[in-house]
């Protein structure tokens, strides 16, 4: 008997319409846990570097985390992985909501899609019955609308639906997959779903998920619940309110947006408005949110209410979470009413709430600077807000200039040429980043931005405070009940960290300390992504209920896998390295690992090189960021070494091959 996991994957060949239920190897679970871990292994085994994102041979994997469907609070995430059309690297984007547990109850750990359906279809999974059904009537429908229509036609109000909107159907490089109150948005995985001809995955499950050692497991669950209540009542002192509590940043609850609106950039990540927030705006925005927000809502088995149902006047209701509240508003220099309104269209179309607004602001910046002209925008309204609606519509339909913009700022800029590249200034690995531009280089963040393969800083940062506390007493108070640290040394790092002087950024924490800190933060995110745990209760907030000390016990008692902190750390390192191996094989090298040039005003090239050198070495990667033979051997990944050897990856001249590859790709898009 398998515990926590079901032991079965659903393999669907869309080209042939073939459906198979395949038993998985429990040894893979012990090595790679589940979710992201086992998906990274599948992509390694079955998607070699020659496979293009829109090839029928690319896989699109919907994976549940190892502990999804167990009573572990907040463990509800679906990890979707594939090769991204935007970055051409391995993309893995997570969504909360209700799909993953439902899939477990239906009896599957993963749904693995390959091939391409000749017609638009949706998958209907009800326990042992799995059907590929016609979706011609759903073509062009919104993602939320699609979910409602499918539930009605199947007469299954309790079915969970993950769907794409028009953006996914038209292969927009930043198309999302929408589900429940959540979405898997980053990396354009919705475009791959559209390319495969799959409009939606619909699941209803009525089976049991088993626990290996129930009494022990429930005790852990109860401890977590108690700690959540404790943390809800005891927010962390000394940090801004959105970082003080658990869950995603509580954007649906808070009215005070002074910090975001005055510290994040407006437009195409350009303008900082230092005196933006005032009483009148505060009142207006509060009225807007209060009038449109119907209810604060949660994902499956989680009390955190990070999301909300939003009903803009005259528009259908949709569900929202987190920072998409402000991304459209700030990209358009507008107000909250506009932001919540256009997000309704964006959710139905199914686009990423970070990339989409930035792409539109980028287009208008090119227009203002004469690189794009009136000819490129026939019929575009003259008012700013109208332009955003117009652009969004063109992008998701891939009409006119929208067809170019639909490839994201990196590829669009290359296609437009004429100096447009300088305007695609906020990307890492071809992917749009948070609109943040700061002053002094932060060495911890430098490493996270540079080496992160989750592509989004919020999915890398978390356990260590973002900035030092001004006073030593405050720091002492903070470390007092900081039991989540993997090692006591982290407390000392933080205690000694000062705002100014010798022990301040960029030279403190030292590169060695930064390695420890970044590695810890990253490790927790990767563990979450294999277990299916929401980062909001684990790797993202300070002092979370799930941490390196109780996770091994959850895995051991839940899944019946022999586990301790060292083994868990090793497993996370194993599949984290496998993610990198997938990307190395696709051409990613040191030259790709850099934050945007203007991310910080004050840069320190020598220090940055040293940071990267030190971190690569710490991780067991060579100067090019390629995992070494020794590191791979230690992780039991000798097969990766053999593959690298065969491909001549270790012996290639520095930089040359991958530059050639990306130049070629650029041509391909232009043709």
């Amino acid at each position: 008997m398998r515990y926590a996991e079901t032991g079965y994957n659903l393999e669907i060949d869309l080209t042939r319409g073939n459906i198979e239920r395949v038993e998985t190897d429990p040894r893979d679970t012990a090595l790679y846990l589940g979710g992201l871990g086992t998906s990274a292994k599948l992509l390694w085994d079955r998607v070699p570097p020659g496979v293009e994102p829109f090839s029928p041979d690319n896989l699109l994997i919907f994976a549940t985390g190892l502990l999804c469907g167990t009573p572990a609070t907040g463990c509800n995430r679906t990890i979707v992985s594939t090769i991204s059309p935007q970055t051409e690297l391995m993309a893995f984007s997570m969504m909360g909501g209700f799909l993953a547990p439902e899939l477990k109850y239906a009896g599957y750990d993963k749904v693995i899609l390959r091939g391409k359906s000749p017609d638009l279809v949706y998958l209907w999974i009800k326990d042992d019955k799995v059907e590929i059904r016609d979706a011609a009537h759903l073509k062009g429908k919104g993602a939320v609308e699609t979910a409602t229509l499918i539930r009605q036609e199947l007469k299954e109000p309790k079915a969970q639906v993950a769907a794409i909107g028009m953006a996914g159907e038209n292969k927009v490089y930043f198309a999302s997959i929408e589900q429940g109150r959540s979405s898997a948005s980053r990396g354009g995985i919705g475009a791959v779903m559209g390319d495969k001809g799959v409009k939606a995955i619909v699941v209803r499950g009525t089976k049991d998920v088993n626990i290996a050692r129930p009494a022990e497991f429930m005790e852990l669950c109860n401890e977590v619940m108690q700690y959540i209540k404790f943390r809800n009542e005891n927010p962390i002192a000394g940090v801004m309110p959105i970082l003080a509590g658990l869950g995603s940043p509580q954007e649906m609850k808070v009215h005070d947006e002074k910090w975001h609106t005055e510290n994040f950039m407006w437009g195409n990540s350009r303008v900082r408005r230092k005196d933006f927030w005032n009483d009148e705006i505060a009142r207006e925005w509060m009225e807007t949110l209060d009038s449109m927000r119907t209810r604060l809502i949660s994902c499956y088995n989680c009390p955190m209410t990070c999301g909300a149902t939003i009903s803009p006047p005259g528009l259908p209701t949709y569900m929202m979470k987190c920072f998409s509240k402000l991304t459209y508003t700030m990209a358009a220099f507008s107000d909250l009413e506009f932001g919540l309104g256009i997000a309704q269209s964006a959710t139905e179309y199914g686009v990423d709430g970070f990339s989409a607004p930035q792409v539109m602001a980028f287009a208008l910046e090119l227009y203002e600077n004469g690189i794009l002209t009136d000819d490129d925008f026939p019929g575009m309204p003259s008012d700013n807000e109208g332009r955003f609606y117009w652009l969004l519509d063109k992008i998701v339909r891939r009409e006119g200039i929208g067809d170019v913009l639909a490839n994201g700022t990196y590829w669009a800029a290359r296609q437009i040429g004429n100096g447009a590249e300088a305007y695609a200034h906020n990307n890492i690995k071809k992917h749009e980043q948070l609109p943040l531009k700061l002053s002094m280089l932060n060495p911890i963040y430098f490493l996270m931005y540079a080496t992160g393969e989750k592509m989004n800083i919020t999915q890398i940062e978390g356990q260590f405070p973002q900035a030092p506390f001004p006073k030593r007493e405050q720091r002492e108070a903070f470390v007092k009940d900081w039991f989540q640290v993997p090692d006591e040394k982290f407390k000392q790092y933080f205690l000694d960290w000062e705002l100014r002087g010798e022990k301040s950024i960029p030279y403190y924490p030292t590169p060695e300390m930064c390695c420890d800190i970044v590695d810890w933060q990253e490790r927790m995110h990767y563990i979450d992504d294999a277990l299916g745990m929401c980062a909001g209760l684990s790797s993202f907030p300070l002092k979370p209920p799930y941490h390196i000390h109780n996770y091994p016990k959850f895995i051991a008692s839940g899944a019946g896998i022999d586990m301790d902190e060292d083994k868990l750390t090793q497993a996370a390192k194993r599949y984290r390295t496998l993610v990198r191996a997938n990307n190395i094989r696709r051409g990613m090298r040191r030259k790709d690992e850099k934050p945007p040039k203007n991310h910080w005003k004050k840069r320190f090239p020598e220090l940055e090189e040293k940071l990267l050198d030190t971190y690569y070495q710490f991780k067991g990667w060579n100067k090019q960021g390629i995992p070494t033979q020794a590191a791979l051997h230690e992780l039991g990944l000798d097969y990766v070494f053999e593959d690298f050897e065969k491909r001549g990856i270790y012996s290639e001249p520095v930089d040359v091959p991958s530059t050639a590859t990306s130049a070629e790709k650029g041509k391909e898009v232009q043709s």
Partner: protein, 178 residues
């Protein structure tokens, strides 16, 4: 006819549907608690509490499994409350043939809430951090009524209909005829 007045502790659950966040933790813990062995599995389909939820219509109604109803009832009405339309069934606790909730998924046998016997409080309440479910114990004064016999109940209803005097007259006439 008047019986003794006694005090009883009545355990009830106060369901504040306005506070429900739709997370279904109640379903998770209920089905885990009632698994054999306890907590060895979970499956909301076996839960004795279900959240009737339509997020886009802002409908969230946690409802507990009550008595089994062997046949469908006449309830097909709609209730509109605060502009939201609810099926009558949303508020019904019965395991009945007209819907699929409150039945064991494999055997189809009806499920019924037992307030988590042996626990301090029903676990759904403990796991509802947002307080949509609150245990209320109230003391009620209950009049202990002596049980009446079947005949007496029948006669009382006849008396209700025809008047007591007419019943007496009829009985007198009947006894004379014998």
């Amino acid at each position: 006819m008047t019986g003794e007045k006694t005090k009883k502790i009545i355990k009830t659950i106060r369901i504040d549907a306005d506070k429900c966040n739709g997370c279904r933790a109640c379903e998770v813990i209920c089905s885990a608690f009632h698994a054999t062995p306890k907590y060895s599995s979970n499956n909301p389909e076996r839960s004795r509490i279900r959240v009737v939820r339509h997020p886009l219509k802002d409908i969230y109604v946690p409802v507990y499994a009550g008595e089994h109803a062997p046949a469908e009832c006449m309830g097909r009405d709609k209730y509109v409350i605060d502009g939201k339309e609810y099926d009558e069934c949303a508020f019904c606790r019965a395991s009945c043939p007209s819907r699929d909730i409150f039945k064991e998924p494999d055997s189809g046998l009806p499920l019924k809430c037992d307030m988590c016997e042996g626990e301090d409080e029903p676990l759904c309440i403990k796991w509802c951090v947002n307080d949509a479910l609150i245990l209320e114990e109230r003391e009620e004064e209950v009049e202990e009524v002596a049980e009446r016999e079947e005949l007496e109940i029948g006669l009382a209803s006849l008396a209700n209909k025809h008047g007591l005097q007419q019943i007496i007259d009829t009985i007198a006439r009947m006894s004379m005829a014998k």
